[in-house]
Amino acid sequence: MRDFFRQVLEVVEPLRQGFATTRKHLTEKPVTVQYPEERRPVPARARWRHILRRYEDGENRGLERCIGCSLCSAACPADCIYVEASENTDEERYSPGERYASVYQINMLRCIFCGMCEEACPTGAIVLTGDFELAEYTREAFIYNKERLLVPPVS
């Protein structure tokens, strides 16, 4: 008889513990972050959408940093960057050096966001930012051209 009660207790006690656990969680605050309205802070070193920077001050203020050297393209393990360089002239000057990127494309579908382009860049032109909302409706829209990547002119 004593064994019987012990056996019953052996079955019932874990059940009680289980119900106590779920009941405890029932009254705790949900951990859900309601995404489009609520956002968790993006980490400072997050690597998402690329931008092409300009010089913000100094003698080259307003000029593009990119000199069309294609080092980013060479460093890219996913081979998703395409750069075409052209000569700067005195009438049309885009960047401080001899050349600038006349075509600069990144295929965001291929990009693995490793940040090696950023490391390879000698002028700090290409930088990965914390903007992670990159959804598009067509495949073509994922190929970012220079207009989309370049930050607006310094005012």
């Binding site: 059940l15 289980g18 779920t22 029932l26 949900p30």
Partner: protein, 413 residues
């Protein structure tokens, strides 16, 4: 019987009850998803409509637009019929459940003597047998679906379901028999009640507040019934027939679109039916838990025309809701049983326990029937006193044995 009465009893009530129950199903699904989310510290669906209330409707619309696939090697006719077979018995079982007290309605549409009409599709004298019979029919849908899908996982699910149903129907039936002993004692003491009708089972629990409820006076039967009810509707922790992790959905692996929705609906209707039966048998059905309490009972609504019909129905639905919440809590707390554990629980634990309680209850009931005339009391009341005395005796024995043991042994041994 006037035309109005025939219309009321043959058309209005049989239409309103299934419609109300079917409307509750999306509510249960919403409740399940929200409650399980909160149990896991999530929020659950809260976007479609107020607090996500329309989420089940959105889900059904999605299912409607999905392709209805029939596997090429399936047994076509059986495959297509199985979801219907699974759905119908659960709905049909609702017919004998008393949703509310008898209401008084005029014998003609707006005039005539008041006639008592039960808020129930059919108050048949074999009510509980009808429920049990349809409960065992419901398994055919699952078994046929498993067989006709021509898929080994489905077949395994179907076979598991059949074996599970056979194992858990027996203790359930025995638990019900114990309750039926009480309600048949009530039926012999009062004229106009059929022994096996669910309405009799409810009426036999009438008393001050919840003092008469069978969940106290048939506690072992109540526990056994609860376990078996969960097993009967194939819900966790007894969801072996559809065990997602082992059988990729079990019997409904091959089903999609509306046919899957029918299985889904069937499960929830079955759950509602079993909750309703459990409520009627153990929680006093439509009886108010506030009846007979001094201050509250002065708020009697039995003379207010509409409220006196709606209040019992409200109590009934509230109790069903609590049962559903218990189902949900169970599902999201307990892990699924292994197959051998399921069989052992059914045959080694529940069946002997149910037999034991039927014998104890029968003996107490017989003794009560013998004593009752001498004490000029109600046999049910005497039975309850006997149950109380037995439980108290058992408690005392256990208490003194433990006390004796701890006294005999030094502490910490």
């Amino acid at each position: 019987m006037s035309g109005w009465m025939i219309f009321l009893r043959a058309v209005v009530i049989p239409l309103v009850i299934p419609i109300v129950v079917l409307t509750l199903i999306p509510l249960w699904i919403w409740l399940e998803r929200r409650v399980c989310a909160r149990l896991q510290q999530r929020l659950g669906p809260n976007r479609v409509g107020w607090q996500g209330l329309f989420q089940p409707i959105a889900d059904v619309i999605k299912l409607l637009f999905k392709e209805d696939i029939t596997p090429s090697h399936a047994d076509r006719i059986v495959y297509l019929a199985a979801p219907v077979v699974a759905l119908i018995p659960s709905v049909a079982a609702l017919a004998v459940i008393p949703f509310g007290d008898t209401m008084s309605v005029p014998s003609h549409l707006f005039w005539g003597d008041p006639v008592p009409v039960p808020v129930q599709v059919a108050d048949v004298n074999i009510g509980i047998l009808w429920v049990l019979a349809l409960g065992s029919l419901a398994v055919y849908g699952v078994v046929l679906a498993g067989w006709a899908s021509n898929n080994k996982w489905s077949l395994l699910g179907g076979v598991r379901s059949a074996a599970q149903m056979v194992s858990y129907e027996l203790p359930m039936g025995l638990a019900v028999i114990a309750v039926m002993l009480s309600s048949s004692a009530f039926a012999t003491a009062h004229s106009g009640y059929a022994a096996l009708s669910l309405r009799t089972a409810v009426e036999s629990q009438r008393g001050v507040a919840f003092a008469g409820w069978n969940c106290f006076w048939h506690f072992p039967a109540f526990v056994i019934f609860c376990i078996c009810a969960v097993a009967e509707c194939n819900r966790a922790p007894f969801d072996l027939p559809e065990a997602e992790q082992e059988l990729t959905g079990g019997f409904h692996t091959e089903y999609s679109s509306l046919r899957f929705a029918m299985f889904f609906m069937g499960e929830y209707i079955h759950m509602t039916t079993l909750s309703a039966v459990g409520t009627a048998l153990f929680f006093g059905g439509y009886l108010s838990p506030l009846a007979g309490i001094p201050l509250v009972s002065s708020l009697n609504v039995s003379h207010i025309p509409v409220l006196n019909i709606l209040a019992p129905v409200g109590w009934f639905l509230l109790k069903v809701l609590l049962c559903i919440l218990l189902f949900i809590w169970l599902r999201w707390t307990l892990p699924r049983l292994r197959w051998d554990q399921l069989m052992r629980l059914g045959w080694v634990a529940l069946l002997p326990a149910a037999f034991g309680w039927v014998m104890v209850a029968a003996i107490l009931q017989t003794v009560a029937a013998e004593i009752a005339p001498h004490t000029a009391g109600d046999p049910l009341l005497v039975y309850r006193v006997l149950v109380f005395l037995t439980a108290a005796l058992l408690g005392l024995i256990v208490y003194f044995k433990r006390a004796g043991r701890s006294a005999a042994r030094p502490a910490g041994a």
